[in-house]
Amino acid sequence: MNNSFLKIDNLSKNYGETPALSDVSLSLHTEELLVILGPTGAGKTTLLRTIAGLETADTGRITVNGTDITHQLPAERDIALVFQNFSLYPNKTVRQNLAFPLQAPGRNLSKTDIANRISHTADLLRITPLLDRPATHLSGGEMQRVAIGRAIVRQPQLFLLDEPLTNLDAKLREVLRVELIRLQRDLRTPMIYVTHDRIEALSMGDRIAVLSEGKILQIGTPEEIYQQPNSPIVARQLGYPPINTIDVHKQQNQWFTASNQPIMAADPNAPSNATLGIRAEDISPQGGEISATIEVIEDLGASTILLANWAGQSIQISISGEQQWHVGDEIYPSIDPDRVLVWGEAQSESEPALE
């Protein structure tokens, strides 16, 4: 990791008594797309705004290419930020919106340079026909394209995107998501992409950083985060339906639930109290010993999700194919023991133990 481009060291920020960011450290490699994933209120936007310079951190340091930018004005940082709510200038046309960052006093670009860059950017984002429209006469998707265009027309050294697709409808979101991935590959500019959407995180990120309550819980490739989440909170961020987590204790090498039912064999070396993480697709509705009752059936087309009450726990089971189940049916769930994640209570911060 010698080629780290952006480095954030021990960044902390409080809003009054409430901590927004606590001790956040991360680095971004050149050409990398890092996704910051976390629930609403995790501090994702605050982190992005601090990198852009719109907020100042209480403590910590941000360096870009070895230069300390912690106390620079946003204008000095050469970092582009795409806002969740687009924030186009309403009294300007699309062309003027794209020209605005290029006309900034520090940039000294000639009129032909500006025109060339605008037409190039407009081609890239396919918004050329919109150039002379007022920014107020655009659809949501068009606005976000223009907002992205306003960021790339500057050719900044770093892109920050704050949930850029959240305000768009589902179909448009998929189209733009693919375009953004392509764009980032083409431009080779490092990008930090903030989202709460697990699909965006898994499909876009070279790496994912999971943020919760202002702390970074885990950073890794999408595979690492999905396969080896280091805590139940991280595990719940990815995958649909969300991972089943069951608090258990160990007796005679068996895991017992809170209602004292043995649900599966335990590793002799495992801690005596633990949380099990079992993905819905790793439970099969048949073959187990303890019965469960199906309470809700959610048909997703390619797969079906059964919500069942099992050993005093509510669990979700994902099945594929054409199994015909009905609400109220009795099933005997069995767990694939190789796929279970075990987080010991005392070691919740350490590496996950894979049984």
Partner: protein
């Protein structure tokens, strides 16, 4: 519904324009016709009109006389109108500029005790302004401000500033911060972002504030009377001063002058009319 609307608008229009019409007719009359006990409503160009007739002979004499000093007065009407224009425009300009800057500060920055400051600013309007006329006059004497344009400009600016700050704060609060932040990220300094983003977007608010400030300065009488007796006399004070004239009150001239006096305000309001209608929407932020 459509007709109902006209049913309200037409009577109101008549009611509202009646005084103006009356002024207009009076301004066309001779002094004798204006103070005649019989009403005459129809202007006519006929030479001889029978007494008791509803018509009167129209003349532009009253307007002509406005250009020459009235008996016992140092200057003609237009001199006083010029005073009003200078004082009104400059105090309005100062109120809007200072008010906008102050409101921007309160709206966008964290200021210690901001709420208390704002309440203090508002509290300057709690007292009827004339209650402080004596202390103001005494202070002005020290600084040689009575009988100067600057004196009235300062005074009207001080009175209108609280209104301007509160109005402008409301308007600037409504401009989403995201626009400025976008400008900051796009490479502009905070001051440049204020010029490029806040000012164009608060044009509506500035127009509204300017109209209010101008009207209040334009019509102010009490202080203008108390602080000036020779220079910087404004039109309201000039008209009031005509009442003690030995020739009687020159109604046609007053009517003509009032009509001219109303024109600048009307023109100004029409000029900023488009801004007064809050047609500006912030459609490019998705909430």
């Amino acid at each position: 519904m459509k007709y109902l609307r006209w049913l309200v608008i037409i009577p109101y229009f008549c009611l509202a324009t009646l005084p103006l019409c009356w002024l207009f007719f009076t301004s066309l009359k001779t002094q004798e016709a204006a103070i005649s006990p019989t009403a005459s409503l129809i202007p006519s160009t006929a030479e001889n009109i029978a007494p008791g007739d509803l018509t009167f002979s129209a003349t532009l004499d009253a307007y002509r006389k406005l250009a020459t000093p009235h008996t016992g007065k140092a200057h003609a009407f237009f001199h006083y109108l010029f005073n009003s224009v200078i004082i009104g425009l400059l105090s309005t300009l100062a109120s809007v500029v200072l008010g906008t800057g102050c409101a921007y500060g309160f709206s966008r920055f964290r200021i210690a005790g901001a709420r208390d400051w704002l309440f203090f600013i508002l509290s300057t309007r709690f007292l009827p302004p004339l209650a402080v006329v004596v202390p103001v006059l005494m202070m002005y004497r020290v600084f040689n401000l009575p009988n100067t344009h600057l004196g009235l400009i300062l005074l009207y600016t001080a009175f209108n500033l609280s209104l301007a700050v509160w109005l402008m704060k409301g308007f600037i609060d409504e401009i989403p911060r995201a626009y400025e932040e976008a400008a900051l990220v796009d490479g502009y300094s905070p001051l440049q972002a204020f010029y490029k983003i806040i000012l164009p977007h608060s044009a509506t608010g500035m127009a509204v504030t300017a109209v209010f400030c101008l009207i209040s300065a334009w019509n102010e009488y009490g202080f203008a009377l108390a602080l000036n007796n020779a220079e910087a006399v404004t039109v309201p004070v000039y008209f009031a001063g005509l009442q003690g004239n030995i020739q009687g009150i020159p109604w046609p001239q007053i009517a003509a002058g009032v009509l001219i006096f109303v024109v600048p305000i009307a023109v100004f309001t029409v000029l900023v009319r488009n801004h007064l209608l809050r047609g500006v929407t912030f459609g490019t932020i998705k909430q």
